[in-house]
């Protein structure tokens, strides 16, 4: 789920110091042969000061290399989501737009025929080396926009996003704990923290979407990749009513009853919760890689990051993971080549290294830029392990166009102990089953 993460980002003050930007030495020879001046209009989601400055720097380098001018507008996630469709269907809209994936955004745009097919570009530029198949799938739809997860590539993301467990190094030391290697050990550490009067897991769910990540992280322990892919991509008529999902619901409620979460988490906003975590409240916080920039400059010894440990040490579990928003090209744009060049420039290694220096995780991250023992190092290591083991799961809200609202409402009741895990999975299935029926009817 990225609605929250991106809109949240826009509200954050950039805390990271201005990264040293500079692509000197990495620039290929300038190609200024183009006699006519070309200007690309680009809409993106890089709204934080630090990120925006980084993209401006990259864009300047692109213009210097190619002679193609850029007219860039950055918009918050909500803004982009609300305006991208109309803009891309207009003949004088932006040429390149960062769009949200999923059925109600990328899917709807493919259906309306307003996006350029990026499949040939991917082959031409070798993007498939950066974008492994599991990540390409979430940016793919059939040509009619109906089938999610296969077919053509319609957008090219450049960053990775995934959910894991942040921990306070100080509290770990105080409690005599080490990062858990199994889920059992993890739960024991929760009990140990609770016994010492510590908040085991810092959490605020007033915004609703954080529950998707919390439940998702637990659920991803029990389900396998084939099921999850089927569920998200609407294949093989799978159901949400399976014992694993019920089990995840039971575990969620068990943690609520054991007071493992921040007291009154239902009334605390996401921003308030990570601020409290940064300020020393809570041993763990289960949330996404996007928050690392806010936590990396905390006072020593600071924070570490690990993936949720597996049920059994030799059986890797799945993790809620995906890519950042995807760069897409307006089909009616007269500047397809320039747009492709621009996206390829952002995908290229010099740009990826620039992202890494800023503390963002590019899809093809160079581990040399992630110092071991640092928070960024932990996160990069986690992403590489997800890629190596092919354990990227999904944001559950992508299952149907209405699933975000359905699961946020259902999880609020689940974590509020207002419904049973059985009722919860049934509610989810009501939405999902209805969606499958319309898909097959269409």
């Amino acid at each position: 789920m990225r609605t929250g993460t991106h809109s949240r980002r826009t509200m954050l003050k950039a805390t990271a110091g201005a990264a040293a930007l500079g692509l000197a030495g990495a620039r290929p020879a300038a190609r200024r042969a183009a006699a006519q001046e070309t200007t690309l209009t680009v809409w993106d989601n890089w709204t934080r000061d630090v990120d925006s400055a980084m993209i401006d720097k990259l864009n300047a380098a692109f213009t210097e290399q190619t002679g193609i001018k850029l007219n860039r507008t950055s918009k918050s996630f909500d803004d982009l989501k609300a305006t991208a469709k109309l803009a891309l269907s207009s003949d004088d809209g932006p040429d390149v737009v960062q769009i949200n994936q999923g059925l109600s955004d990328m899917g709807a745009m493919v259906k309306a025929g307003i996006l350029s097919d990026l499949t040939p570009l991917s082959k031409q530029f070798g993007w498939d080396k950066v974008l492994p198949p599991s990540m390409a799938a979430r940016n793919s739809f059939s040509a009619d926009g109906k089938v999610f997860g296969e077919g053509n590539l319609w957008g090219m993301p450049i960053t990775a996003e995934f959910v894991g467990v942040y921990y306070s190094k100080q509290k770990m030391a105080d409690l005599g704990l080490k990062p858990a290697t199994t889920f059992d050990e993890f739960e024991q550490s929760l009990a140990a923290a609770k016994a010492k009067g510590e908040i085991p897991i810092q959490w605020g769910d007033l915004d609703g979407w954080p529950a998707i990540h919390t439940y998702g992280t637990i659920q991803h322990l029990y389900v396998d990749k084939a099921y999850l892919d089927d569920f998200i991509y609407g294949r093989n008529n799978v159901s949400f009513v399976i014992p694993e999902n019920v089990k995840a619901g039971e575990k969620s409620q068990e943690w609520v009853k054991a007071d493992y979460f921040t007291p009154d988490f239902a009334g605390i906003g996401y921003d308030d919760s990570w601020t409290a975590f940064k300020g020393g409240q809570g041993l763990y916080m289960i949330t996404g890689s996007w928050i690392s920039a806010e936590l990396k400059n905390a006072a020593d010894p600071g924070f570490g990051f690990m993936l949720m440990p597996p049920l059994a040490a030799d059986k890797p579990n799945l993790h809620v993971a995906g890519t950042g928003m995807a760069y897409a090209i307006r089909k009616s744009s007269a500047q397809q080549d320039a747009a492709a060049q621009y996206i390829n420039f952002l995908v290229s290694k010099p740009s990826a290294d620039e992202l890494a220096t800023t503390g963002i995780i590019p899809l093809a991250v160079d581990p040399a830029l992630a110092p071991e023992g640092s928070l960024y190092g932990d996160i990069v290591a986690a992403w590489q392990s997800i890629m190596k083991n092919d354990t990227a799961g999904h944001y559950l809200d992508w299952a149907t166009p209405t699933f975000y609202d359905t699961i946020v409402a259902g999880l609020t009741d689940l974590f509020g102990l207002n419904i049973t895990p059985e009722q919860f999975v049934q509610q989810m299935q009501d939405d999902y089953g209805k969606f499958l029926a319309t898909q097959q009817g269409a």
Partner: protein
Amino acid sequence: MASRAAEAGGRGSTVSRRPGERARTAYLYLLPGFLIYVVFVLLPVAQTVGYSFTEWDGFSAAKWTGLKNYRDLLDDKLFLGAVGHNLVLIVFYTVFPIALALLLTSLLTRRSIKGMNLFRAGLFVPQVMSMVVVGVVWRWIYNPVSGPLNQVLRGAGLDAWARPWLGDPKLALPAVGAIGTWVSFGFALVLFIAGVQRIDEDLYDAAKLDGANGIQQFLAITLPALRNEVTVVLVTLMISALRTFDLIYVTTRGGPANRTMVVAFLLYKNAFTINRAGYAAAIAVVLTIVILIVSYVVITVRMRTSEEA
């Protein structure tokens, strides 16, 4: 005054005018304003009504589906729930603020209080603040851990009363409603105080001579004199209760589990996040009709009672 006299003179001089001509000239003056009104109000309204009969994702071609959206609305539990929540909000936006404002009016106007203007300005401040600011402030006030409300309760030994206000399934709607009351009552108060100042002081003196106490004076003199103000406040606040969007958007986004979902927010969700623009248009049409009916009823009742009086 001078200009009005000149106007009258001007009118008097146009003797040789054919019937209807004056009206035509008047319409000509109205034309620019009317055109703007047509382009920016009437046409969009007509378009919205048109879209409400279609299945439309907001950017590709629309498909005519007749009354289907309206039929679906009747079965949509989320929509019916939202209507119910709006009705509850009407109580918080109108009944409570008006009652509170009337009480304060009678207290504030019958005695001269030092720094009265300061109080009035202070009580009106919520009304001039942006709803987004109000929402952010109250989100902080209601924060269960660091917010002042729970801290005051805990400080007073009322730990059991401390709640995750906006996240509590039973209390979230009243908590949001209370913000509405806080915002609205300053508006009611300022209008009522202005109204009271028009009342002839002799009426109160006469009443006092007759031995009427404060409450009797309020019921017999103040309240009847404020009928017009009450009507204006009632209609304005009812409409704002029915249109509530920003407050929900900032505080709860309809949560927990849709228990603060209101019609306008549901409309927004349908139009902008799940691509059901046709359905959203139907919601908009229903909301508009309800607002028109409510306003019409309140104003008609008011006219009738004033005729009786």
